[in-house]
Point group: C3
Chain length 345, copies 3
């Protein structure tokens, strides 16, 4: 969809410089964008690309715009504006409201007339599907589950009985909400299942990636608060609580009953052990494992970057001798002190 | 469902102390439980919570019960009793027997009259569905697959042709049983697929979490023995054999042809390389990688706990110099010996 | 299906030794194979098993065949021949062509008359399903998606709108192609979604394991080139490009916009951070994390093999002191030099 630069600037809340009448019909990176395309400067360090960009116009922060002579929209957060510009220039047509004739909706389920339910989806008894909800194909919504207004559920998602999903959430394909957690008591070598009678309660504006799993609680609920963003293959165990606006990249796993604060970020394949407490504003780098509660904000890591394999193997072999090595250093130090003392005498 | 404490004690096989007539209608933790609730003391170290608990009654081990004056059930394994108490107090209503009119069952499939098959599930030719089996919605059971009595299969599970699942198993949503393994022969740079003609054979009382994958064998079968418990996102490769009552937490992966013993436990994201043998009673901590066969029981680890990122980065930089550092210590030691000798002369 | 050894040798392109008329009706490992079975010698180090094998015939490389007196087929790549032999001896019957009466195919979708579409699968408007395509049950093919000739799609796969899959590909059960990537801009603590308007473009002869996820690009496409093989639970983020014949074992994850070359291999649970470039012929060992671009071929590792837990804990404790330890060694060295100098004076 085409816009004049001026219209876009108005929508994005930025100041226009240059020709406001040019027409913008596409979006690209600084290096890819051409005629009719809008680009954006993600970081000041990309200034070099800016000079050479063939983009019709650029979104810039005030500092980066100072010396720029081309058409641009100047605003404080170009990254956010870029996200909004894509949505404006390439709008999506939402599915039309209505229940597909091949969907199966229980008589006691309550589906809003503005919601859409895709082919071969099953909505069980007592479920509530809010206004403007979009449900894809082959989705299962269990008994009494609730989907808030504007929420979008993709193909093959399973939402177990009694789980709540808030407003404007997105659940990507293959995700499972409310499966029983991994809880067993050991009875002389064999495992006895601990029944899971809690649920999963998800706030508003939450996004959960494809093939993720959020387990229901044993007695209380597993809770994912407003604005949380979870990537593909994320696993949230029973009775976990994740605070508002926390984001977790792919394969991140959180073990049972752990509480995680607000605005935390987790790099890919990060992990958190069970029964821990992580405060607000904690950042965990990719592949790191949190094994103790974190009570002060900060960045935490056990990331191990790869190196050339032969060199790595030598160092890892030494790692296995590290305790011995440390003791040896201690002995050397003592010897050195003893030597010095002798000499001093 | 409400029980008198006495009835519960009888069912759980414990000795009652205090008022056997009080009515129990809920379950809670020591800190959450209130009027009418049963709690349990998981570890002796939680004694402090016991004194302050508002629970109507508590499940306790004999040692912990000695000084307790409140209503309680005394037995040897409170954790197991707690699991059983939840099942008694919050019973589930299983799905009614019968095939949903929108399920598709092949004429030659054999579905027990006491089994239930959910909406939009597909049971292929020659499959056998045992007594009291519960199959959810959108499940696929391939040609000739067998589900033993009492087994429960949740939404979107795929069970490929010829696979066997024993009695009283639970397969959670989105799990794939019997997909081809990752086997390719390299032909001058390109990969040639190795066909997989084995199957997956799962014993009794096995539980497999959501979005897990168990691959079929190349020629022989992949085998999961009785009582094994696998969490969400677990991956078991072709021709693996897992012994009875072994448990694996989320994201654990086992590579091809490895044999794992009985009663082993694997923390989250543990891994085992291919063609290894792990004996009975081996325990692997979270995120650890087993790269060699383990022939004696014990606990094994390569878990790396995160620390504050700046500190971590310094230590990791040193890790890359570890081999050099070890050589330097060796040289220092020699020098020190040389010095001492000189002095002695 | 039974073959004479001579017929098999002809099909596999090898030289026959011994009795070409014996009938082969099965395949086994050197240790399992018996009467009528064909085995193969995978590595020269397995020669010991060869002598004792009860196999009717063996596939061997020329060097290993020199001293072998039994029936055999001699050729350069026994592993590839073994793969082909399994396919010949245990042929699969592909699903018959045709659309299942309970599949839902949009009027404007174009399904080849030689393709098959399984029960309860949904093919949306404008999708193109090529010749000899095999689609399982409960599969969703989004609007305008394209499946090339001979491609096989298993149960519960979701292929989002506009994605292209080449010829002779296999997508295993539960895999999601073309879900939105994990892209958000941060707006004063809250996350604003970056719309994803690119697609996923998959070449020919690609195989993707069960419950994997390949995200669509933001503006450009995510690209998986010819001959790539991905295992179960693999995650490929938005705008990644993977070169021809690269293979990735289970749980491997590649973060956004990274470019990976041809003929690379990744062990299980390997990871690659975002915006990197990895050249052709790079090999990454299991669980290793690539955090920088790799511009020369080679093998890279940050694999940490587990050891006995008590010993590991001691060494990890020392790892946390590694920077201090290195400084101490430096001081010792200086002291030693100072001592020597004093003595020299």
């Amino acid at each position: 969809m085409a816009w004049t630069l001026e219209e876009l600037a108005k929508r994005l809340g930025g100041e226009i410089r240059g020709d406001g009448d040019i027409e913008i019909s596409g979006v690209g990176s600084l290096t890819d964008a051409g005629d009719g395309d809008l680009a954006f400067l993600a970081r000041s360090s990309y200034q070099a690309y800016l000079a050479e960009s063939a983009a019709a116009a650029v979104i810039l922060a005030p500092d980066d715009a100072r010396d720029y002579q081309g058409n641009c929209i100047v605003l404080d957060n170009p990254h956010v504006a870029f996200a909004k510009a894509i949505a404006l220039i390439y709008p999506e047509t939402p599915a039309a409201a209505g229940v597909h004739p091949n969907a199966i909706v229980a008589a006691t389920a309550n589906v809003s007339t503005t919601a859409s339910v895709g082919a071969l989806s099953v909505i069980e008894a007592g479920a509530e599907i809010g206004a403007d909800v979009r449900i894809g194909t082959n989705v299962w919504v269990g008994e009494g589950a609730i989907l808030g207004p504007g929420t979008c559920v993709h193909a093959h998602v399973a939402i177990h009985a009694g789980c709540h999903v808030g407003a404007r959430c997105t659940l990507f394909a293959g995700t499972v909400i409310g499966s029983d957690g991994f809880g067993y008591a050991n009875d002389a070598g064999a495992w006895v299942k601990i029944p899971h009678r809690g649920a999963v309660v998800i706030g508003d504006d939450v996004s959960i990636g494809a093939n993720a799993t959020i387990d229901r609680g044993v007695l209380g609920d597993t809770r994912i608060d407003n604005g949380v963003k979870l990537d593909n293959h994320v696993h949230i165990a029973h009775n976990v609580h994740i605070g508002e606006h926390t984001a977790m990249a792919a394969f991140t796993g959180v073990a049972g009953s752990t509480r995680i604060g607000r605005r935390c970020t987790f790099g890919g394949r990060a992990g958190v052990l069970d029964h821990l407490e992580i405060v607000d504003d904690v950042h965990v780098t990719a592949t790191s494992l949190i094994s103790r509660s974190i009570l002060c904000p900060g960045t935490f890591s056990s990331t191990l970057p790869a190196e050339e394999a032969d060199q790595w193997r030598k160092n890892v072999a030494r790692l296995r001798q590290l305790d011995k090595m440390a003791r040896k250093i201690g002995r050397i130090e003592k010897q050195l002190v003893a030597n010095s003392t002798e000499e001093d005498i």
